[in-house]
Subunit: 429 residues, 2 copies
């Protein structure tokens, strides 16, 4: 093995997620693959001929991995994504690999320490869509605002509800988020007031990133939808509930969401996630033909949210959920998105919507965890607090740091997403 991979690493040889990094030796953002605590520089490997033997792609591999984003690589097909993955597996695990033997330091020169690197957005995200595909989340929110009997809107079980989000304000994990200003109604029925959001929330989500795109007017059939998905990331869809509540009728969320959306830097491919496929929840009514999916189209991905207030020395987990609870599959989301003719481009991103577990220990937002600010939750216990007191909260306070994590584990194999982190900074006024 070229690299020692710690047993509990998210970035085992079974993973090989793609990202864009830079470091002090070379501050050009460039494509890499995470392995253990290292990053493999794909440009260096391409220049040493590791990606020879895959048709037209091989002639283009050097230029593909010299780009500051992964869009060009994403625009290839699953065949090329798999080829690169196989070449990397062989390069890392085979000490007699001819390319390694040919490199002056046996391949070590292509390695960079993750801790010495800065991560960037993996791709230019042309368009960003956010779905609302967790039945538990939609039911919780609906129950809160419309009562238990009208919790789910009539359309919800017929199609994956989604909306267009803001692409410009998507940021990579580690980027601080400024508390947004805006209009909100402080007491029901009174006029709106201007000021900082007082109901700043998180949303535990994952997002898929589109690989190959489709032409305008040519929908992606669900039977081949997987070939159009490059991979997945963790996503925190920061939400200002008070701004959102006032503005969202009738055209949906706008300023309540577009001040920032954080994603994890490493894109885990569908091939790496293949061993962790599980059955979807039962879908009733049976979806229309264009949404008819294989039963085994869910993924068993453990997800968690943890929080560290300013006065605390460590993160405290406030929620444990799993992607397997998602009602609408990723393929159903993509097939629905394009059925009217909408075109997708390499690097476009689709969030799942908040992923809530069936029980309250796994709700994916503070809105649900505190039941819209009714029940406070423990965010830091006495042991970890500077003032030796338990700390409870409703929504996010200034300087809170939030961390999402996700991983799959089965038969001794671990494939993880790393983390998606963001700290809240005070508003401008």
């Amino acid at each position: 093995m070229l690299v020692d991979v710690p047993k509990d690493s998210d970035f085992s040889i079974h993973n090989l997620p793609f990202g864009v990094f830079s470091d002090s030796k070379n501050n050009n953002p460039r494509p890499g693959v995470a392995i253990g605590e290292k990053i493999l520089d794909l440009g260096i490997l391409a220049r040493h001929g590791l990606f020879e033997g895959c048709g037209d792609f091989s002639a283009d591999a050097k230029s593909t991995f010299e780009q500051p984003t992964l869009n060009k690589f994403m625009s290839y097909s699953r065949k090329e994504w798999r080829f690169v993955r196989q070449q990397l597996t062989s390069f890392i695990s085979n000490d007699q690999h001819p390319v390694r033997l040919d490199m002056p330091q046996g391949g070590l020169e292509a390695l960079v320490n993750q801790k010495d690197s800065k991560m960037h957005l993996p791709c230019t995200i042309g368009d960003y869509t956010d779905f609302y595909a967790s039945k538990e989340h939609a039911t919780n929110v609906g129950t809160m605002f419309r009562g238990k009997d009208n919790a789910l809107n009539p359309n919800w079980t017929h199609l994956p509800i989604g909306y267009h989000g803001r692409a410009s304000s998507i940021v990579v994990s580690g980027t601080p988020i400024k508390r947004p200003l805006g209009q909100r109604v402080l007491t029901p029925g009174s006029p709106p007031m201007f000021g900082p959001s007082t109901k700043l929330d998180i949303e535990l989500e994952m997002a898929f990133i589109v690989g190959k795109g489709n032409d305008l007017g040519s929908p992606i059939d669900i039977s081949v939808a997987e070939d159009y998905i490059f991979g997945l990331v963790l996503m925190n869809d920061w939400s200002a509930r008070d701004i959102q509540a006032w503005e969202y009728v009738p055209l949906g969320p706008f300023l309540g969401k577009n001040f920032g959306t954080s994603i994890s830097p490493w894109v885990v491919t569908l091939d790496a996630l293949e061993p962790f496929k599980v059955d979807l929840p039962t879908q009733d009514p049976i979806p229309m033909l264009y949404l008819a999916d294989d039963k085994k189209s869910g993924y068993d991905i453990n997800l968690s949210v943890s929080i560290k207030p300013q006065n605390s020395s460590c993160f405290r987990t406030i929620s444990n959920s799993n992607l397997k609870y998602l009602y609408w599959s990723l393929k159903q989301q993509l097939a629905h998105h394009t059925i009217g003719g909408c075109n997708m481009r390499p690097g476009d991103m689709c969030g799942t919507g908040t992923i809530s577990a069936p029980t309250e220990t796994g709700f994916g937002s503070l809105l649900e965890l505190t039941w819209n600010g009714k029940n406070k939750i423990l965010v830091a216990d006495a042991k970890s607090s500077s003032d030796s007191q338990d700390h409870y909260g409703y929504f996010l306070e200034d300087f809170d740091t939030v961390k999402l994590e996700g991983y799959c584990e089965a038969n001794g194999i671990r494939v993880g997403f790393g983390s998606c982190v963001g700290q809240i900074l005070p508003s401008l006024i």
Copy 2:
């Protein structure tokens, strides 16, 4: 004058709108400016030194006008946009202009016929937002679906309601639009059915294109908002009313809109529109401080919609409206969009929403003109129809062609937008 400009031309010397074109002699898309029936190739003019004398921009002008989009030019400030405009005015109108004297054909070599050219999108549109800023339109739609007493939602007069649209499916005038497939409910209360939209509509809009951007977390103050707007285009926000009606609660329009949005190819700058500024409608309640705008922030731009069914020999005008009716100004839209911290990038686009006049001859959608399919309208009279009969319609039929036009006129000066055209093609099934 370098060029003869017909008296009724939209592209007088007072206009000088920017666009991206290609032609049979050079099929690289490149920036140009419309004048009369010609296009001035900005790359050629830059290479002949027309843009010398404006600081850093001058050194960069050649590269700026060799781009396949206008984004780089848009990323400069109003100072550079004005400088280019002034240089062009002088180049066109002054027969003794030194750059013209220096060119072998006296400047004629920079001219291309519009009729021999193909127009492209003027810029890469990173994000597209659509507002809902016409009180007449919002009131009409509200009255139709909620009754006269609840026509406007409580938030509508407090802020410019808007939502994120789909950037990938924005197309330039002339691109056909395929009728979308999707889920829709045919009779109220019955389950949704899958099929082609039967309520395909237009929306008469304009859109502003962002010039200089702002950083995430740093709102654009309304007092300087004009400096961030490069110019305006006509926009047809094609809408499938049946798909939209079923899907839009609670997150807003999605597949009902994202199958295509058409814009006119020539971006008319705010400087060209300056002489046509008029007072905004009275705003009640008085907007919050961050939305406090100069009274004279409207624009008197005559707008029309015309339609040509397959069996007709000519376009028939079905609506005459005007941008001056818009309740929320462009500056208010931009200030609101960024107040929570959302960042804008050069080339981002914001639609106004449907611009409806106070009376029904100027409603900006078939939804309003037919009052949701209750009253049919004349789309082709007997004289222009192949079968010598009047033709009436509700929503768009296959092969209908729709044309939006817009122009300003005052004191013998005309500044126009050309047209935004699109033909409906049959759905896939």
